[in-house]
Symmetry: C2
Subunit: 416 residues, 2 copies
DNA sequence: CCTATTTGTTGTACGGATGAACTATCCCTC
DNA sequence: GAGGGATAGTTCATCCGTACAACAAATAGG
């Protein structure tokens, strides 16, 4: 309501109405005609026509062939986002892979490269140099195919100061005080950095301003991603809430039990010590770096949890299964406790679980939902919902690319 | 950045630039001239002149006598907010008082009535009827004096659904599912309701858009108000962050110790059971409804805390002092733990303590700051600050009235 | 074939910001 | 104390983008 504004001139009107028209097309359930847009926005058909013509000229929109729909009158010309024209580029350095993904305005992935690796205690210049080469390949290929790259977002697993463009610290990479953008050496391409969980959260939204065909995507949710550490993002009204610097959502260090084990952060009883990947593996009797599949194997087939850990002929030792079961149960209680605090403090009622929690959700759900129902004050008045993330692998790549395209839609006048 | 927009027409320009000019005057450290505003906003002097003339005509701004400041050139005409013209009205029902306060654009209180009482388990229609009569008195008096009331905000101590205009539940009043606005019977005056802590938080901001003369007021802070319950508000960039429905900031029910005492909410180990007013009094050996002054008397003179609770000749029994001291220390640790979670989750680095914590801060500070430094992940990178609230008595009245005036400043075109 | 209907386009009018020129009022200097 | 320079505020022609109304295009139905 009260956003900071600059002086408004004539062309400000044009910019704002271009955005309005572009959004009307991207958010419509069906490809709208110029007349539909006029009705939806309150602009006149004349104005909409000139604006649409500019957006079509800029190859942000495309006209479909006019089709008679059986009603009287001149048939409408449906408008849709133009594919393979404007692209957003998502980049990511994570502990076990490098990646780049280019997405167009229809939501289609146009180019992608994901390079597995081990970047624990790696050299920033080397790793980012390699990622830069990948990105330049994509830039060249897409440019040769007549597409334009609007910008890039680099996702990093650590404390990111987006405004300063500095990665302050990324424990799992062993990086600190890195300025990553120059190391990518992507001349002429505007690159911004962001925290990995924040961009992964945005991937849960339907697209660059689209209302997803899958109508169940909520406008507001907490995204909580479990791995060795536990990160989170707050999305309200399809916008990231970042606090003062974007260092929010540190749910991994919320107090679960002050008498609990000491955490790597120095404090006691943080959620991470109960529900982090390594803590969970350890409590289940597995090595700290055991892959998630080992734990899932111990837990047995999904959607069933035996009341008693009896030998079911699967070859899993009952004692090991019981330990894994207890560990996941304890993790679920701890996660529920921290999520209850989260919900009580920020008042967002949908929780999307990503990372290892996506696959573990069937086993976690009873404890998480039980604790939430007990501890969330507003529980009697709202529908609390816990769901699994759906953005798939390397969600931050998708989220980053889409965020770039959201920026294009936020100021289409810059591209006409 | 990406707020929802309606169609922009010619008059949209005028509205936006009127707001821009009005804000420039209210936020300037010194009364600016038309030329100053032009320089600050990027508008031309010609445009600023016509806009200022409209705002002066609407009695939102006032010209001071032109004064030669020693420099060459025609002397500038300083512009200031017009006093005793446009008013915002703050209303409040709390457990121990009713109140109404009208504030003008200069920040001056123009009318005020505060009626002490006991509204525990009271009748909504009766109490709100009485408050409505007070408000109508103020409306009549200010109208007769040539002032205009832009609207009113009603502060309530409970879960408020501002959009629906419904108070879902207020435990301390014994109210539930009340629609308070019609019961006030204030015809023609737009009244909105809000949670008491949220409006009290806004009172910490300098005024209706002013940058406070006291430059230390931050743009972003967590406001935590201690009483029987503990409420909070999140302010980022001088705006309230409300989550989905405004039911955020329930810091009183954050987990401090899962082995702790059972809370009135049904869960265990909530902050309220360590740092709520009644819990604190009980732990200090006082009756649950003891006034805060009793506890302060036990604690002895401020800013001194004896290492050993020896008889200092003041007549306070050492054992009672020791109990009070231990209770406050325990409360400080619990409060620090919950605030650390709060800061870790929302990334706001200034905490303003209101309610009983304002007076208790000298004793709470060491434990609170100690726990924050230990538990806040970003502590090495940012300045954490804990400070006392300064808005004074009935802060929600002030905050509500100012919020109305902020609305006027957000759309001055509606008043020209 | 003619009319009703809906879509999209083509003018004209209007509101609001701009920029340059103009007036008003100061300080400073000779 | 007269004139020049400087700064504040106003006036007016111009431009830009949207609204409004009329018109052209393309369909359905009788």
């Amino acid at each position: 309501m009260t956003t900071t504004t600059a002086a408004s001139r004539q062309h400000t009107l044009r910019e704002r109405n271009l955005r309005l028209v572009a959004r009307a097309v991207f958010e419509a359930p069906e490809p709208p005609s110029r007349a539909d847009i006029a009705a939806a926005t309150g602009l006149t058909r004349a104005t909409v026509s000139t604006l649409v013509d500019q957006l079509v000229g800029a190859r942000l929109l495309r006209e479909l062939p006019a089709v008679a729909d059986g009603r009287a009158g001149r048939p409408a010309v449906p408008l849709v986002p133009e594919g393979r024209s404007m692209l957003g580029l998502g980049l990511e350095v994570n502990v076990d892979y490098l990646g780049a993904r280019a997405i167009d305005l229809t939501g289609a992935t146009v180019a992608e490269r994901v390079v597995p690796g081990t970047f624990h205690d790696s050299e920033p210049a080397e790793v980012l140099g390699a990622l830069g080469r990948i990105a330049r390949d994509i830039t060249r290929d897409t440019h040769d195919a007549g597409m334009r790259l609007a910008g890039a977002r680099l996702a990093l697993p650590g404390l990111v100061d987006a405004r300063a463009g500095v990665l302050d610290v990324a424990p799992n990479l062993g990086w600190s005080s890195v300025e990553p953008v120059p190391l990518l050496a992507l001349d002429g391409l505007p690159v911004e950095i962001a925290n990995e969980a924040k961009l992964a959260a945005l991937a849960e939204l339907g697209g660059p301003g689209f209302v997803s065909a899958d109508a169940a995507v909520p406008d507001s949710f907490l995204y909580v991603s479990g791995d060795v550490g536990i990160g989170a993002a707050i999305v309200v009204g399809r916008e990231l809430f970042l606090g003062e610097r974007g260092w929010n959502g540190e749910v991994g260090h919320v107090v679960v039990d002050p008498a609990g084990p000491r955490c790597s952060c120095g404090a006691r009883g943080c959620l991470e010590q109960f529900a982090g990947k390594e803590a969970l593996a350890g409590a289940a009797g597995l090595p700290a770096d055991a892959p998630l599949t080992d734990l899932l194997a111990l837990l047995g087939p999904r959607h069933t949890r035996p009341v008693k850990p009896l030998d079911d002929g699967s070859g899993r030792p009952p004692a090991a299964q019981a330990a894994a079961d207890a560990a996941v149960r304890r993790a679920g209680q701890a996660l529920g406790s921290a999520l209850a605090d989260f919900v009580n403090l920020v008042d967002v009622h949908t929780v999307v679980l990503g990372g290892i929690y996506t696959d573990l959700l069937p086993w976690l759900r009873p404890e998480v939902e039980g604790v939430l129902a007990e501890r969330v004050l507003a529980a009697p008045f709202v529908d609390l919902e816990v769901r699994a993330a759906r953005a798939g692998a390397q969600a931050a790549l998708t989220g980053g690319a889409r965020e770039v395209l959201r920026g294009v839609l936020g100021d289409p006048a810059a591209w006409v």
